[in-house]
Symmetry: C2
Subunit: 321 residues, 2 copies
């Protein structure tokens, strides 16, 4: 692999992305059981592109754990889709006027700009709920054939729900809104934005972005039958990768342009949101991201076939969008 | 049981309600893992009271199927809680200004009136996600002890997710908003409210209210080890009960007073919402509700120990709030 400003991902990773793109909409329930308008709104946000980082991580983690299992990708693909549905729901809700009030996402008008706030909220609700239905149905198929594998799948569902829930992604978004002075307890009079300490910023991002990225990795590992040692290693990898990803996200919000990013640049600073560049400056933020990626790659040591996960970690800190 | 305008529920059903009240908040994840403000907002909507119809149905269905199993209530209680969390999330989101714009629920200000729209959306998201975590964790405990029971629990999760998702509750809310002219495809110019035909009204309610009520019943039955015949019978019971419940809800919106209902009366008519009284008149609506309840009770025939479910069906059509 040659060094450069942007390291291209290899063909295998691109093939995983194509696999996910095809399944994301195909597995969505549709009319007549689902109202056509709801299906359209769910689909709109799913086909908007994006990096598909989380489901790619799920597939790569599964391959790293079971490199000789030809069926492992097929077995893990539904879970990878479910995780991208959950990620997409969180973007739809985060973009709402009541939260980040974003009008542009992945280069297109956000869901509520096209469908209105009510339907956007419901499209998000539906994607979240269908993700758990897909996970449970997949687990059922598996449990019918192999009880031990069924129990593993249940553990993966609980893990994804925890990462997405009150102690994870939703909790992180609440901390973010609180710091920005956008939500508060009813008896609190002072609701000005508050500058987070470094450890608070890290804790907020660990929940808001890190938890689901980590769950995407560990979920793939569990479903592929990881040993306890492999699971611990990949869990540590996921934590550090999530941190690196978020720091780079903050940097891109400052450095990036709307055209490359596909979303409104400079929004975070304008909204007085806590970010790494605001706390540490741009140069130190770059170094923090590189250090987190290096720790992520080092954590992979007990997993022999993890070259592609390492490559993805390098890509995460060099990406420009 | 004596006849009367309001039939009181018997002591066993009241005891089930107390059991659920105690578990609903106790099982909620809280600080420090969950931000205190988020926990407070989730709790606020859970302790607002309410009939607890759905979780009571889950417990009663389990008892009807396994009357001699002393541990059945403990085993089913987490699922009953999860279903009430899902119901509560749906109320929080339905009350938002972007949807029904309700300011009063169960006699108290709605979540967004107290916490703002952003936190109300997130409190709903968290309740939905935590419901699936609770279901999956319970299933895991069960699967560790008994693989066959683990597979049944997975089936219950998939069933609840389907009832709550795009083909169920969320889909019904979309149909409701569409009929009221509150959401539409981006290329549609004419967005006036549309009067639903009788079969469309029934289909909308079957998704919006019926699906989760039915799932509450069937979920309890599955977890208690129902036979196929019992499951079919209780599924039919749930469908008819859900219909009866919704017709009575529509009637109460016309006849009820805010003080008794704990929510704003006459809202549906004012919003031009499709309702049974609007389509059929009040008297015929009462008859339709009684007929649905009678069909519900008749469906219980293959389930010998279902007296309390029948009693609950009678209460549903005689309730005044």
């Amino acid at each position: 692999m040659t060094a450069g400003a942007v390291t291209p991902l290899d063909a295998v990773i691109e093939a995983h992305r194509a696999r996910i793109e095809a399944a994301l909409v195909a597995r969505l329930p549709g009319p007549p059981a689902v109202p056509a308008l709801l299906h359209e709104a769910m689909r709109y946000s799913l086909v908007a592109g994006g990096k598909r980082l989380r489901p790619v991580l799920t597939l790569l983690a599964a391959e790293a754990v079971a490199p000789d299992d030809a069926a492992v990708l097929d077995r893990v693909l539904p879970a990878a889709c479910a995780i991208e549905w959950i990620h997409t729901y969180s973007l739809i809700h985060d973009d709402l006027p009541a939260m980040d009030n974003d009008t542009l996402r992945r280069g297109r008008p956000t869901s509520h700009m096209v469908y209105g706030d009510g339907l956007a909220i419901l499209a998000g609700d539906a994607l979240l709920t269908e993700a758990f239905q897909l996970l449970a149905r997949t687990a059922l198929d598996v449990a019918a054939a192999d009880a031990g594998r069924g129990a593993r799948t249940l553990r993966a569902i609980a893990l994804v729900a925890r990462a997405a829930g009150a102690a994870g992604m939703v909790g992180g978004q609440v901390l973010d809104l609180e710091a920005a002075g956008q939500c508060h307890a009813p008896d609190v009079a002072d609701v000005r934005p508050r500058r987070l300490e470094a450890h608070e910023l890290r804790a907020m991002h660990a929940k808001k972005t890190g938890a689901l990225i980590q769950a995407a990795v560990v979920c793939g590992a569990i479903l592929a039958g990881a040993s306890d040692e492999e699971e611990r290693a990949l869990s540590a990898f996921g934590t550090e990768l999530g941190l690196a990803f978020q720091i780079v996200d903050d940097i891109l919000d400052v450095e990036g342009e709307a055209a490359t990013l596909g979303k409104t640049a400079g929004k975070d600073a304008a909204a007085g949101k806590p970010t790494y560049p605001a706390l540490f400056g741009l140069e130190a933020s770059h170094e923090l991201a590189e250090a987190a990626a290096a720790r992520a790659i080092a954590a992979l040591e007990p997993v022999p076939h993890s070259m592609r996960l390492a490559e993805l970690a390098r890509w995460v800190v060099r990406r420009t969008s």
